[in-house]
Assembly symmetry: C2
Homo-oligomer: 193 residues x 2
Amino acid sequence: MENTAVNTKDKILDISQDLIQKRGFNAISFQDIADLVGIKKPSITHHFASKEVLGIAVVQRYRETFATALNRLTNDESVSARDALNFYFTPYQDLGETGDKICLCASLAGEFMALPIDMQKEVALFFNDHLAWLEEILVKGQKLGEFNFTEKPKDLAHLFVDALQGALIVQRATQNFSQLDRIIRTLTVKLKS
Amino acid sequence: MENTAVNTKDKILDISQDLIQKRGFNAISFQDIADLVGIKKPSITHHFASKEVLGIAVVQRYRETFATALNRLTNDESVSARDALNFYFTPYQDLGETGDKICLCASLAGEFMALPIDMQKEVALFFNDHLAWLEEILVKGQKLGEFNFTEKPKDLAHLFVDALQGALIVQRATQNFSQLDRIIRTLTVKLKS
DNA sequence: GTCTATACAAAGATAGAC
DNA sequence: GTCTATCTTTGTATAGAC
């Protein structure tokens, strides 16, 4: 999940993502992005034809970065279900520590009806990716005796995604930055085998 | 939680709230509001001096409406903890059924860093109100033997708020509209005494 | 209390020089 | 690939008539 761009195009993507996670898509402008990248406003157009095109690129990259990381975990037989789940929490924990950023897709989902349709599709894919991955991990962990729970795996996967995304949103607003860690503990305690 | 305004000022508040719940604060304009209210754009200024003033009024009213309803439940001795909790779910369920709206404060919290400071404060108060109320109800239900759970009431209150808010956000994006009801069931099953 | 008219700034986007 | 210059639209806000 590193963002250390060398070329301008990636810098634009990095800074746009950062700004959206802080303020949302509709509250940022080419001017904001250009200022932080260190170029002039119209130069962005050379890399991304429109704000919509830029927005789509940002979400797509974000979703694919997660998909790749999650698939790697699932395919690696040496990684236990519990380790995989713990690894899943780390990006949320990193976001929580920033104090001013939430998940890109939570930010976009908050203004969902004001998004271009192609951005909406990417956001939906992101959540569905995560729900499916979590369900798979929970089933795997249950089968191998790592987890012990009575809920349906699908319901528990929903609970995890909703609670984690909600926790980041709520804790940023309330400035109560221990909340995410507490939620993670509350969620995982129920998996004790 | 009814919104059937008779005067223009309340109509502006109602429509603004509705639009923010759908699209967020930064994505809406006086023009959008005026069109739906059926007046001209500058007429809004007569009722609310600025967009910020309007925004503050919308959140404040929203927060106070909830606070009043929740306090009524807490003060009414004839209402059991379980009934109070079930009543707490109904606004979320109503929102879930719209298919395109989320909690006003979740929408605002998603673009938190792009909000005027006084709107931020109102949003924070809203969440803290709900967290405190839920904790109180959980403690009460536990004492009276209505609920049976092992988590700390504060942690469970966090889980409820985060999961409910998260569920509305995620289900709107994924168009999977059974998710909120499933989350509510998942959450309440753990309270079975 | 609502309107028309307008001011002013900022938005996204394009053209064309370098 | 980045710039300056410019276009067009839209945003919030104000002035003043009715």
